[in-house]
């Protein structure tokens, strides 16, 4: 499974990658904003997107909406990992159809659980 990690903070991308490695996943690509992420989705075989919300150019919410509108990637599993923890934010993200939501700071265990839960529910579908 190949992950695309989208975050404008290189430290956060590294933390996400380390957490994924600790859970046994080893295939990644990285993007620093939504625009770069959309380009990578076109050129690389990505199976799962983990995105931050607050980013320059195209933010995580706009990226999610763009992916859902895209005929090729509209079923792409998306996990939002962000500092935004207000109820309205979560509902807005759910309306944009993120598959799950993790608030920063997170433990690698939480990240693993959410990814596995998304993979599991996608299998059922």
């Amino acid at each position: 499974m190949k992950f695309l990690i989208v975050d404008d903070s290189p430290t956060m991308r590294r933390i996400v990658i380390n957490s994924l490695r600790a859970s046994g996943w080893n295939d990644f690509n990285e993007a620093s904003d939504g625009e770069e992420a959309l380009n990578i989705l076109e050129s690389d075989e990505i199976d799962f997107v983990i995105t931050d919300w607050n980013m320059p150019n195209i933010n995580g919410l706009e990226l999610t909406k763009a992916i859902r509108r895209h005929p090729k990637f509209n079923e792409m599993p998306i996990l939002m990992v962000t500092t935004r923890g207000l109820k309205d934010d979560i509902i807005e993200a759910l309306k944009a159809r993120v598959n799950n939501y993790v608030v920063k700071p997170f433990t690698p265990q939480i990240l693993k659980e959410k990814i596995e839960s998304i993979i599991e529910s996608n299998k059922k579908v």
Binding site: M12, I15, N54, R84, G85, L94, K104
Partner: protein
């Protein structure tokens, strides 16, 4: 009489001088009046701007203080974890150097062999060999148990080191959180700068260099609203409770969505039934 006339003439001269002064002063007073009219909105704007910016400053100060607190908290926790890690590695070294138990086991079985050899006349050759084999089996078993215990102890310490490294990962995320918070403070400072720049531009005498203006505008471009979360620092406390609350919201939203979809399905089923009934009716009509 002449004195009185002179006095009147003097008064008239004074009055005349006053009128001349008045004539000269009126345009000047008019200019002052126009100037005050022009400066009044600017002064009001300056006043408003200073008042607005003063209100924002405590928020910026507060945010910077929170960043300092969060960074300090994370650094202290990381240092505590590092101390713990250092203790743990020392424990592993001690376990690896612990050979007393094996020495005791070896001495115990060495003595048994000596005892056996000392009393060898009591045994046949076959029995003696069998006894020695038993002693070696027991020695191997006890040594294996000792090794397994060491292994278990080291494994448990490694697990706790793993947990500690996860805690470090959690604490390092403060970097992203504080950088968003500082971006919010930067955004606020730039907004104040822009406002002050607008005020300064209204005074013709004060020239702001293009470089200064460009610097401010470029900073504003780099830190746009929406690229940072001004409440980011709040997420640093009580994360597990927050994630639990978020999971509840997601669960409830998904349940509602699924209920809605089920409703939609029911409606579709009803429509299908209706259509199948209509077909039945058509069949009946044809008959």
């Amino acid at each position: 009489m002449k004195e009185k006339i002179n006095e009147i003439i003097d008064k008239a001269k004074e009055l005349n001088a006053l009128l001349v002064l008045g004539q000269k002063a009126i345009p000047f007073l008019e200019e002052i009046f126009i100037f005050i009219n022009e400066i009044e909105p600017i002064l009001k704007e300056i006043n408003q701007s200073i008042s607005d910016n003063l209100k924002r400053m405590p928020s910026a100060t507060n945010q910077i203080s929170k960043v300092t607190e969060a960074t300090e908290l994370a650094t202290t926790e990381i240092l505590d974890i590092m101390d713990n890690l250092s203790n743990r590695t020392a424990e592993i070294k001690n376990i690896l150097n612990e050979n007393d138990i094996f020495d005791t086991i070896q001495t115990k079985y060495k003595n048994k062999i000596f005892e056996l050899l000392h009393n060898k006349e009591k045994y046949t050759d076959e029995n003696l060999i069998s006894e020695v084999e038993n002693i070696f089996d027991l020695l191997n078993k006890e040594t294996s148990i000792g090794i397994q215990n060491k292994h278990n102890k080291i494994e448990s310490i490694l697990r706790s080191i793993d947990d500690d490294s996860m805690k470090i990962i959690l604490n390092l995320q403060v970097q992203d959180i504080t950088s968003q918070q500082l971006a919010a403070v930067n955004h606020l400072i730039i907004t104040v700068q822009e406002k002050l720049l607008n005020i300064i531009k209204q005074f013709d005498d004060y020239q702001v260099s293009d470089l200064e203006v460009n610097n401010i505008l470029n900073s504003a471009k780099n830190i746009k609203e929406g690229t940072f979360d001004p409440q980011a620092i709040e997420s640093y406390s009580g994360t597990s409770e927050k994630q639990g609350a978020i999971d509840e919201i997601i669960k409830s939203h998904k349940t509602k969505e699924s209920d809605y979809l089920q409703e939609k399905n029911t409606l579709q089923e009803d429509i299908d039934k209706l259509f199948s009934n209509q077909n039945d009716l058509k069949d009946l009509d044809n008959q």
